[in-house]
Amino acid sequence: MNCRECVEHLYEFLDRELTPELERQIRDHLEDCPPCGEQFDFEELFLKFLRARCRTQGAPAELKRRVLRELFGE
């Protein structure tokens, strides 16, 4: 696998959407190719950052009460 093919699958790899065989080929390439490795690390870090920043908020307690009231009349 060359760098172009490797980077083409970057997000599918990070999203765990590849077949085990393709995933292994990418892993092999990343081990031998620091530039691709750096790019994958950066994108992985970005996705972790995104999830951490955006999941702090949950449904307000009042909304939970409202849904229960509407559905079950309490």
């Binding site: 997000y11 959407e17 790019q39 950066f42 994108e43 870090l45 849904v67």
Partner: protein, 184 residues
Amino acid sequence: MDEKRASFEREALVHLDVLYRVALRLTGNGSDADDLVQEAMLKAYRAWDQYQQGTNAKAWLLTILRHAFINEYRRRARHPETTDIDAIEPFAVFSEIQDDDPQGAFFDRIVDDEVLRAIDELPEAFRETLVLSDVEGLSYQEIAGILEVPVGTVKSRLFRARQLLQGKLYDYAVGQGYIKGTPA
């Protein structure tokens, strides 16, 4: 407690936080998000007999939520979609920062509200795809089902949504002086 209610609480109500976060990104404000979630939960409870228990309740609920959004909220949205999303050029942030900040340390300085604001600026088709994937962790297949588009479309939207969002956050970080560089 009757069986219908018990199973709905067990399988559906546990996803209230997910529904609320997605509703917030779709509608852009808390009060509409409350109403949208309420509406979706009501529709889901009425249709609960049609849901196959033990399958994918989260994806099923998100499909209902999105339909409710399209039918009742989108048409009166303050910012109707005018962007031609195919014309948007992605900006490769990594190639800009790989010499100065390859670990993306500047991200750490960007607060939650700023990230959410940047997501809210994305075109709707990109925003909903990115939120379902990157915030809520759904698979390409699940997202394709909810948005009723092919998996290939999910992939290409996700690619461009991520690049676009990185570009916005990079611009912001440059503007704040968190990182040197030229805005995209």
